[in-house]
């Protein structure tokens, strides 16, 4: 089961879960993803050691999509 999670003050929050075969669950996850983008979160897909990808749309095939806040120079 794929998960959409958000890094937040609680550690992380699971926002949506879906499977490749479940269109309704995926659509709900897409809506959630867009809502989080609207709040300023950035979608990132970890791709194993040392690699991650920034995503602008929720990839159906991803196992885990992490919504994070932007970073800035301190």
């Amino acid at each position: 089961m794929a998960r959409l999670i958000r890094l937040d003050g609680s550690g992380h929050t699971t926002l949506a879960e879906w499977t490749a075969a479940d269109d309704a669950a995926f659509e709900a996850a897409v809506d959630e993803f867009r809502e989080q983008q609207g709040l300023g979160y950035i979608g990132t897909v970890p791709e194993g050691p040392g690699k991650a990808t920034h995503v602008r749309e929720l990839p159906r095939e991803a196992d885990l999509v992490i919504m994070r806040r932007p970073i800035a120079g301190g």
Binding site: L7, V45, A52, T53, V55, I66, R69, P70, I71, A72
Partner: protein
């Protein structure tokens, strides 16, 4: 639609990309700068003793300046990886679990002991902390310290590390470009000013950078 460019770069369009060439150049500038502000104090102290041995106390003050100023810069560099901000003890175990999932076995163990996540990259080996990162460039002879943080102040410490780690993995040069460069110098200078529990992480990063 996916990409390997950090979206945060849009916030700093005036910055030149922090690539290998930029780091080499900045490393040399910092090296020259360190000499420029310490050598004159040493020379002045030596000349004073030569001209008038009774000026020894003043000469010692000049020598102290030559030692203290580089130490202050190194302290500033090492400070980027110090623990900062609220500890959020209730949510930290959850955040620690997720960060652990992002790291390999050895890196996870090192992060739990030292608070720093070791991440090999193309520019060198990174140590990612809660509000900054240290890059030990290939060969392990120079460290660059960067001040960079997640913009949500409520995050537990491990989530702050995870934010930086994910951004670094998306775009290493972009990460270094967005971050503020605060120090470059020999890793031993940074090590001396690091909290003792973090020093094994710098040792591991130097070892990895030498391979």
């Amino acid at each position: 639609m996916s990409e390997h460019v950090l979206p945060e770069l849009a916030a700093v369009p005036w910055r030149k990309p922090t690539d290998e060439r930029w780091l080499r150049r900045y490393g040399r500038i910092w090296h020259a700068w360190t000499f420029a502000y310490s050598v004159p104090f040493v020379l002045a102290g030596g000349v004073m003793i030569y001209l008038e041995p009774l000026a020894l106390p003043v000469a010692l003050a000049a020598f102290a300046h030559a030692w203290i100023i580089p130490e202050l810069y190194a302290f500033r560099g090492a400070s980027v990886v110090r623990r900062k901000g609220p500890r959020n003890e209730r949510s930290e175990p959850v955040a620690q679990g997720l960060l652990g999932d992002l790291l390999g076995h050895e890196e996870r163990d090192l992060q739990r002991r030292t608070g720093l996540a070791l991440e090999p990259g193309r520019l060198g080996t990174w140590l990612v902390g809660e509000a900054g990162a240290v890059l030990v460039v290939s060969g392990g002879r120079r460290a660059h310290c960067f001040c960079v943080r997640a913009t949500d102040p409520e995050l537990p410490p491990s989530d702050r590390v995870a934010h930086l780690l994910l951004a670094l993995r998306v775009d290493e040069e972009g990460f270094a470009t967005v971050a503020n460069h605060v120090f470059a110098g020999a890793p031993w200078r940074v090590r001396r000013r690091m909290p003792a529990e973090m020093r094994p992480a710098l040792h591991a990063a130097r070892s990895a950078a030498r391979r």
